[in-house]
């Protein structure tokens, strides 16, 4: 599997660290909404098909990337920097 990093170009998957489901929304740190925290920590969309996920180019430029990848074919449909557009702000 090759992931095209916006900085570094196409690189082997071994250079990247998987950070999972990019659809989760992290509540504000002060939030006391237990359902929202539970959903953020434990619930996953886990689709058979296109999946919005976060990878880090940990063996390269170390940027966090938003990747749309098909979980049936492993085809990568798009890659972009996660910053700004990443719903789960801060760490994921």
């Amino acid at each position: 599997m090759l992931i095209t990093c916006p900085y570094c170009g196409p690189r082997d998957v071994i250079e990247f660290t998987y950070q999972g489901d990019g659809n989760r929304e992290r509540p504000q740190p002060a939030s006391q909404d237990l359902d929202a925290w539970n959903a953020y920590v434990y619930d996953r969309l886990n689709p058979a098909g296109d999946h919005n996920e976060i990878w880090q180019h940990s063996g390269g430029c170390r940027a966090h990337l938003r990747v749309v990848r098909n979980t049936i074919t492993h085809e990568i449909l798009s890659t972009a920097f996660a910053r700004g557009g990443h719903k789960a702000e801060g760490r994921s």
């Binding site: 071994i14 489901d21 959903a39 996953r44 689709p47 058979a48 996920e53 990848r69 049936i72």
Partner: protein, 419 residues
């Protein structure tokens, strides 16, 4: 008289082997059943078997989207063990172990259960302490466990590199002598025949594409072979749980589907006669009766429904094998494949009545589903028949994640790819 016996073997041999019956029929689906089990793998088939045998519920259909046993029951590395730390897991898997010990007799089908032991290697003093603790926890609940030193391990597995100069020197290990392996295809076929002979319809090439509802209640399924109604619909679909639950309108689950690869080498003379696991990575190996080494390692590590993996894990698994057995460097790998693992957020399974009325759910086996096959079906059948869990599966709820009752044997946290 048992269908398979020395006598029936002789009789059929003399009659030219023309009178054997197929192990299961190929029925067309009826319009309705008491129970539909979705998933014709080990867990679905054992559920149907114990529904019929223990609870007298025989108006049952098992729906399989492919051919019988085409999923994880035919893809795993066949290890059977009950060497867990936490009591909820220990009790459940020890119940499974006891069912394994009598399974060939119970099914009248030789599942080739071989109690050759399972040895976890320790490579640091802290790890050995941790194993001692786990061994004590196991013995406390009546499970066999023995701490082994390097001399004993050297005698047991002479091919293992136990020298002090190994990359990760072996300091000892935790052995469960009653653990072992079983022939996984025979487990599927044996349960299928046992269920079939009690009246269960096993329907292959029948994929569920939707659920029938009456208000909020699940009343059946629509399939590629038409609609089938049932009083109770039970899911045992392992890696496809997320996908099938989405068909039922539940979009989020505490589960990720991941791919796990397994490998088989060319046949060798006996070299390892136990199930051996590496403690400084993730690697396990045993040797089949044909002589092939059967081994595997970690998940590929990203969500996947592909049933095939990629090369970095192949490289890593082979490296770990050579760290233990430098002498295997020139052995050739014959086959590799992948299976889908329904990884939960705490590494433990889910067996419940629900989450929707009329639905029963069995999932979250991570990569430990094969050894659970008998107890999973036994507990799931109990839950379906009585609408309440048995004490063995009572801790394995879906809402435990939201109530602070997680069962995290590895202490890994909600990161499914690391369990």
């Amino acid at each position: 008289m048992a269908e398979y016996s020395a006598f029936s073997l002789l009789k059929n041999a003399l009659a030219g082997n023309k009178d054997w019956k197929p192990a299961w029929r190929k029925p067309d689906p009826k319009a309705s059943y008491d129970v539909i089990v979705i998933g014709g793998g080990g867990h679905g088939l054992s559920t149907a078997y114990y529904l019929a045998k223990e609870h007298g519920i025989t108006n049952v259909a098992v729906l399989e989207k492919g051919w019988l046993g085409s999923g994880n029951v035919g893809r795993n590395t066949t290890a059977v063990r009950s060497n867990y730390l936490l009591p909820q897991n220990t009790r459940f898997y020890e119940h499974s172990m006891k069912l394994w010990e009598n399974l060939s007799h119970d099914l009248n089908y030789n599942v080739m259960f071989s109690q050759r032991g399972c040895l976890n290697l320790a490579h640091t003093p802290a790890q050995l302490d941790d194993y001692a603790r786990r061994g004590n926890a196991m013995r406390h609940l009546g499970v066999d466990a023995e701490l082994m030193n390097v001399e004993q391990i050297k005698r047991l597995v002479p091919a293992l590199d136990v020298s002090g100069s190994a990359r990760f020197p072996v300091l000892g290990g935790l052995m469960q002598p009653r653990a072992g392996t079983a022939r996984h295809d025979a487990v599927a076929w044996g349960y299928a025949r046992g269920a079939d002979r009690r009246g269960v319809d096993i329907i292959e090439n029948c994929e569920v594409i939707g659920f029938l509802r009456d208000g909020g209640r699940i009343t059946g399924v629509s399939t590629t072979r038409g609609e089938i109604r049932a009083k109770k619909v039970a899911l045992a679909v392992a890696g496809s749980t997320g996908h099938v639950m989405q068909l039922a309108g539940i979009s989020h689950m505490p589960i990720e589907s991941h791919v796990l690869q397994a490998f088989v080498s060319e046949s060798l003379k006996p070299i390892v006669d136990t199930v051996l696991t590496f403690g400084m990575g993730h690697f396990y190996i045993s040797q089949s009766d044909k002589g092939s080494l059967v081994y595997g390692g970690d998940l590929d590590g990203y969500n996947s429904y592909a049933q095939r993996g990629s090369l970095p894990i192949v490289d890593e698994v082979m490296s770990e094998m050579l760290a233990l057995f430098p002498g295997l460097a020139r052995v050739r790998m014959l086959r590799s494949w992948g299976g889908l693992c329904d990884m939960t957020m705490d590494g433990s399974p889910i067996i419940i009545a629900g989450p929707l009325p009329g639905m029963y759910l069995n999932c979250g086996w991570c990569y430990g589903g094969f050894k659970a096959t008998p107890a999973s079906g036994w507990c799931f059948a109990y839950t379906i028949a009585k609408d309440e869990p048995h004490e063995f599966n009572a801790p394995f709820t879906l809402d435990r994640f939201y109530r602070g009752l997680i069962i995290d044997d590895k202490g890994q946290g909600a990161n499914p790819r690391l369990h």
